[in-house]
Amino acid sequence: MKSYFSVIFTGAWSLITGLKVTIKALFTPIVTVQYPREKLVITPNYRGHIDLIKFEDTGSHKCITCGSCQRECPSDCIVVEGEKREGVKGKVLTVFTLDFTKCSLCGACVEACPTNALDYSDEYELAGATREEFHYDILKRVEERE
């Protein structure tokens, strides 16, 4: 019999303390961001799709077409091809494509590159209409970037 009444009082008190929490939250400022009208600043370490870095001293990339990234990739999404041109030491990069639909963002390619030519981009607003939009031509991207 006593527990009948004590349950009522403890229960009612627990309900009231719950209400106090929510009413306090009603007057705290919101924590969400109204995307796409406001955007958050992305950390520079964000792991987007890879891009060749454009170095200022040469004005171009530092890829030596060794193919390590292609070998290390677990998902087989990188294609690297080069050709030998006369007068130039080593191979010249002609094709560097990334099939981003298969990429698992593991970072093995960036770590495998012996010249540190690859880095992550910070593009996260990736929405496309066709699958081919995500077959990036990395060589063209680095040549077109200023």
Binding site: I8, L15, G18, L19, V21, T22, I23, A25, L26, T28, I30, V31, T32, Q34
Partner: protein, 328 residues
């Protein structure tokens, strides 16, 4: 013999009441829908509707237009007459109780001697609508929602009625205007706090609001009895629910919070409606507040709570009221 000329004032009154009823129901849905979503958002530390209009103020209008334009999908092998009848049955009976509520001293549709009984009678048609909707959907989840709703609504009508009966014993009348007028020195919430609390809990259960929203328990039963409804049928259910909330909060205001009494404004007989609406919407804010705070009760715990806690306390309250009224 009554000519058209002699019953003309009554006709005008009927037309004004009908228009007023429609304005109240739809206006209430607009205000309540917007308030619920905004308050829910801010309790959850997010802004709520922000896109359409300034801070989403015309969101409900746009939603209404969208729902009106959607296809009315009737599931295969569903009982089509019952399926189409249920939303109408949920929505139509809300107009009659609005006629007997005294919004202020002079603003009342019809002052019936049995006003309270009319309100309670029409509020229980909602149960039938949910049962018909759940059965007619040919969906086991909807059937569950319908079963739970019937038991819940029928059970919680009893404490609701008994706590109101305590007030009726004190004022000796069922007419709502006289009950509101009888609270001149002090509101009945001070005299009968226990009845007020019991009525508030029963009110939450009658309108199927959280934490008693098992008929439409979203995470257990996908959407309960209105799973299969889309477009205008669904919006009729929602309109009926918001109008029901308005009606039960108005009854609480009239019976416990003094109706339209408050600081006298100019033209007090008509502008008392401001105080009335303020009290009603304060109670509705409370309903929204508890919806977004508490988890859902389990079904047998809900029935236990009604039979073992609410009904004994309301009966004791009635007994004490009767004894005190007899002695005074």
């Amino acid at each position: 013999m009554e000519t058209l000329y002699s019953i003309f004032p009554e006709l005008i009154r009927i037309i004004v009441c009908a228009i007023g009823g429609a304005v109240i129901v739809f206006g209430n849905a607009l205000v309540m829908g917007y308030a619920e979503r905004k308050l829910a958002g801010h309790i959850m530390l997010r802004p709520g509707p922000m896109e359409v209009g300034f801070h989403g103020i015309i969101q409900l209008v746009v939603d209404g237009l969208k729902l009106m334009g959607k296809q009315l999908v009737v599931p295969a092998q569903a009982d089509k007459p019952l399926f189409m009848l249920a939303p109408i049955l949920a929505f139509a009976p809300v107009f009659v109780p609005l006629l007997v509520i005294p919004f202020s001293d002079k603003l009342q549709g019809f002052d019936l001697d049995i006003g309270l009984l009319v309100i309670l009678a029409f509020a229980s048609i909602n149960v039938l609508a949910i049962l018909i909707g759940g059965w007619g959907s040919n969906n086991k989840y909807s059937l569950f929602g319908a079963f739970r709703s019937v038991a819940q609504n029928v059970a919680y009508e009893i404490p609701m009625l008994i706590s109101l009966l305590a007030i009726v014993f004190m004022t000796n009348t069922f007419s709502l205007r006289e009950v509101a007028a009888a609270q001149s020195p002090v509101w009945f919430v001070v005299v009968q706090p226990l009845a007020f609390l019991i009525y508030i809990v029963a009110m939450v259960a009658e309108t199927n609001r959280a934490p008693f929203d098992l008929p439409e328990a979203e995470s257990e039963l996908t959407a309960g009895f209105h799973t299969e409804y889309s477009g205008m049928s669904f919006s009729l259910f929602v309109l009926g629910e918001y109008a029901n909330m308005f009606i039960v909060c108005s009854v609480a205001t009239v019976f416990f919070l003094g109706g339209s009494s408050g600081i006298d404004l100019p033209y007090a007989e008509y502008t008392g409606v401001v105080w009335f609406l303020a009290k009603v919407y304060a109670l509705m804010f409370f309903l929204i507040w508890i919806r977004w705070t508490y988890p859902r009760t389990r079904f047998d715990q809900l029935m236990n709570f009604c039979w073992k806690y609410l009904i004994p306390f309301s009966l004791v309250n009635l007994l004490i009221t009767v004894v005190v009224v007899k002695l005074i």
